[in-house]
C-alpha cells in the first residue's frame, strides 16, 4: 500500500460495532471520518478564538478573522485557486444551487446589466449528464423550468461512461451551461473533463464541475482543468459536516447575483434597495460556519501532507481489490467498468447489485460483520434506472482504508447469495 496505516489518526476507527466486531468503514463516499487534527482545530477555535469575523474591533474578532481567511487560503491553494475565488457554502449541494439560483436571479433581472451575461431564457439550453448526483441535476431542472430554457443531457453507456458521439449536438450554440461531475459516486469513473470543457468553451457555455468525489481523492487543479465553477464538500474531504465550498472564476463571481441575502453580503442598504459586495463576500450572507471553515482548512492540510498523488494511487489499489474481488462472485454485478477497464481511471468505489437480493438486505448482512456500506440509489436515480436496477450496495474508500478492509468486504459479500438462498 502506498499510504501507511492511518487508522490511528482517526479516533472513530477504533470503535467496535455489532456484536463487538471491529468497524470496517467503507461508506466514505457518503461521508468521510475525521482525523484528530481536524477535530482539534475546530475545538481550539471555539476554546480560544471564537468571535464574529470580519467586523470586530476586538482582539478575538481579529484572530477569528485571521483563522477564517487563513482556511480560505488553504482550501484555495489545495485546488489551485486564488483566495477570493473560494466561497463557503453549507455543503456542495448549496454551492451548486448558488450558481443555478444566481443564474435564475440574473434571468429575473436581479443584478442588472452587470449580471446580464448570466441571463438564460426560452431558446437557451442547459446540459447535464445522465450520471449526475441529484445535487447537480435538480437545480438545473428547476432553472430550466423557471427560465423556459431546455434541459438536455449526455447519456451513458452500459458501463456508465458518457457517450460523447453526439456532444456537438448536445452542447451547441444555444447551450449556456454545461454541468457535470468530475467523478461518479456510483461507478467511480473519472469524467472526460478536457473534452467536455473544450466543447463548452467552443460554444461559450459556462462549465460547472461537481468536485465532490474528485477533490477528496485525486489531485485537482481548477486552473489546469480550466473550469468556471466547481463545488466541493468538506465532510467528504476528512473535514467537518456543515461546510462546503464553491470555486468560481473571479470575474464571473464578481457579477453573479447572490441568492442568499442578508448581512455581510451587502454594501449599502436602504429600505428600498441594496447593493452587493464583491465576491466572495457577496455570497456569504449571515454568520458563516467559521469553526467549520477552520477545520476544513486543517483537513486539506492533512490531505496535502499525505500528498494527493499518493492518495489517488492508494485508493486505486483499494479499488482494484474490491472491484476485482466482487467481479469474481457469481450472481454479483459490478456497476461501472468491467473486464480490463475495471479498476483503471476510477476512484475507490465499488457499487454492486446482487442478483435476487435487495441492496438493503445485502447491506444488513455486511453490517452484521461490522462492515459499513451504503445501500440505495445514492442520489443517482437516473443512473440506476439506466443500469436497470433501483438501487445498489456501495463500498467506498478513503485514505484510511486498508487492504484488509477491502478483502473483508469481498469476503462478506460472497456470503450474501447463500444467506438469502438465491444460489440454490
Amino acid at each position: 500500500m502506498l499510504l501507511p496505516d492511518l487508522r490511528g489518526d482517526f479516533p472513530i476507527l477504533a470503535r467496535t460495532v455489532r456484536n463487538g466486531k471491529p468497524l470496517v468503514y467503507l461508506d466514505s463516499g457518503a461521508t468521510a471520518q475525521k482525523p484528530r487534527v481536524v477535530l482539534d482545530a475546530e475545538r481550539e477555535f471555539y476554546e480560544r478564538h471564537n468571535a464574529a469575523v470580519q467586523r470586530g474591533a476586538h482582539l478575538m474578532a481579529e484572530e477569528a478573522t485571521e483563522a477564517f481567511e487563513g482556511a480560505r487560503a488553504a482550501v484555495a491553494a489545495f485546488v489551485g485557486a486564488d483566495s477570493d475565488e473560494i466561497v463557503w457554502s453549507e455543503n456542495a449541494t448549496a454551492a451548486l444551487n448558488l450558481v443555478a439560483s444566481g443564474i435564475a436571479n440574473a434571468s429575473a433581472g436581479i443584478g442588472g446589466e452587470e449580471s446580464a451575461r448570466f441571463r438564460v431564457g426560452p431558446g437557451d439550453e442547459i446540459c447535464v449528464t445522465e450520471t449526475e448526483h441529484h445535487a447537480n441535476l435538480v437545480p438545473w431542472q428547476v432553472l430550466a423550468a423557471k427560465t423556459g430554457a431546455a434541459l438536455r443531457w449526455i447519456p451513458v453507456d452500459d458501463e456508465g461512461r458518457m457517450i460523447l458521439d453526439d456532444l456537438e449536438t448536445l452542447v451547441n450554440e444555444r447551450t449556456r451551461v454545461l454541468a457535470f461531475t468530475h467523478a461518479s459516486n456510483v461507478t467511480g469513473i473519472i469524467s472526460p473533463v478536457q473534452a467536455l470543457v473544450a466543447r463548452a468553451q467552443a460554444v461559450g457555455a459556462l462549465t460547472v464541475l461537481d468536485g465532490c468525489q474528485s477533490v477528496p481523492h485525486i489531485p485537482v487543479n481548477v486552473k489546469a482543468l480550466d473550469i468556471d465553477f466547481m463545488a466541493m464538500s468538506a465532510h467528504k474531504m476528512l473535514g467537518p459536516t456543515g461546510i462546503g465550498a464553491l470555486y468560481g472564476r473571479k470575474d464571473l463571481l464578481d457579477v453573479l447575483p447572490p441568492s442568499i441575502l442578508g448581512g455581510g453580503a451587502v454594501k449599502v442598504v436602504t429600505m428600498e434597495e441594496t447593493s452587493w459586495q464583491a465576491a466572495p463576500t457577496r455570497f456569504e450572507a449571515g454568520s458563516q460556519p467559521v469553526a467549520q471553515a477552520v477545520a476544513m482548512g486543517a483537513a486539506v492540510g492533512y490531505l496535502s501532507s499525505l500528498g494527493m498523488d499518493r492518495v489517488e494511487a492508494h485508493e486505486r489499489e483499494i479499488a482494484a481489490i474490491m472491484r476485482e474481488g466482487v467481479a469474481q462472485i457469481p450472481g454479483v454485478r459490478l456497476l461501472g467498468p468491467v473486464g480490463d477497464a475495471n479498476a483503471r481511471d476510477v476512484i475507490g468505489v465499488a457499487a454492486v447489485s446482487v442478483e435476487g437480493v435487495h441492496p438493503h438486505d445485502v447491506g444488513q448482512v455486511l453490517d452484521d460483520s461490522g462492515i459499513a456500506v451504503r445501500v440505495g440509489h445514492h442520489c443517482t436515480q437516473p443512473l440506476h434506472r439506466r443500469f436497470g436496477v433501483t438501487g445498489s450496495t456501495r463500498a467506498s474508500a478513503h485514505v484510511y482504508t486498508t487492504a484488509d478492509d477491502a478483502h473483508a468486504f469481498v469476503e462478506a459479500l460472497a456470503t450474501v447469495p447463500a444467506f438469502f438462498g438465491v444460489n440454490r
Binding site: N19, V357, H358, H360, G376, H377, T390, F420
Partner: protein, 153 residues
C-alpha cells in the same frame, strides 16, 4: 440465533420469496381505496388496493418492489387482514406497529395471536432503519382504508 438470523427468520424468507397478494385486483362493486407509498431511503415503492364490503376487508392486493422485509411484511399483511372484519384488521395493524416499536421484544400479550406469522418480524424492531421497510405496506394499508371509506362507488 444472532440478531441477523432473528430478523431474517424462515417465515420472513419464505414470504419474501413467494409473496401473497401480489398483483393489483379489481375488487368489483365495493368501496375501494388505494395508496402509493415510497420508502425514500431506498426508492422502494408499494401500491396497495383495499376493497371494503360493508364491515369486511374483502380484498387486499398490491404491487411494487422492495427488500425482503418490506415484501414479506406486505405479504403477511395480505394473509392476516384479507377477509377479516374492519375492526380486527385495524387491531392487527395497530399491534404490528407496536411490535415495531418494541425494540426486538415480543408484545407478550394476546395480540401475539392476532399477529400470528407477523410475530416473526419481532427482530426488525432492533434495527431502526428497517422499521420503515416493515411498515411500508402497513402504511399503505392504513391510508388505503381511509380512501376506501371515503369512496362511494
Amino acid at each position: 440465533m444472532s440478531s441477523l438470523e432473528q430478523m431474517y427468520q424462515q417465515v420472513i424468507m419464505d414470504h419474501a420469496r413467494e409473496a401473497h397478494g401480489r398483483g393489483l385486483k379489481d375488487p368489483g362493486l365495493i368501496q375501494v381505496g388505494e395508496s402509493h407509498q415510497v420508502n425514500t431511503t431506498c426508492g422502494d415503492e408499494i401500491r396497495l388496493r383495499v376493497g371494503l364490503d360493508g364491515d369486511t376487508v374483502a380484498s387486499v392486493s398490491w404491487e411494487g418492489q422492495g427488500c425482503s422485509i418490506s415484501q414479506a411484511s406486505v405479504s403477511v399483511l395480505h394473509e392476516l387482514v384479507e377477509g377479516e372484519s374492519l375492526e380486527t384488521a385495524e387491531k392487527t395493524a395497530e399491534a404490528f406497529r407496536d411490535l415495531m416499536q418494541a425494540k426486538g421484544e415480543a408484545l407478550g400479550d394476546d395480540r401475539d395471536d392476532l399477529l400470528d406469522d407477523a410475530t416473526a418480524f419481532v427482530g426488525v424492531g432492533k434495527y431502526p432503519a428497517r422499521i420503515k421497510c416493515a411498515m411500508l405496506g402497513w402504511m399503505a394499508f392504513k391510508d388505503a382504508l381511509i380512501q376506501a371509506r371515503k369512496d362511494q362507488s
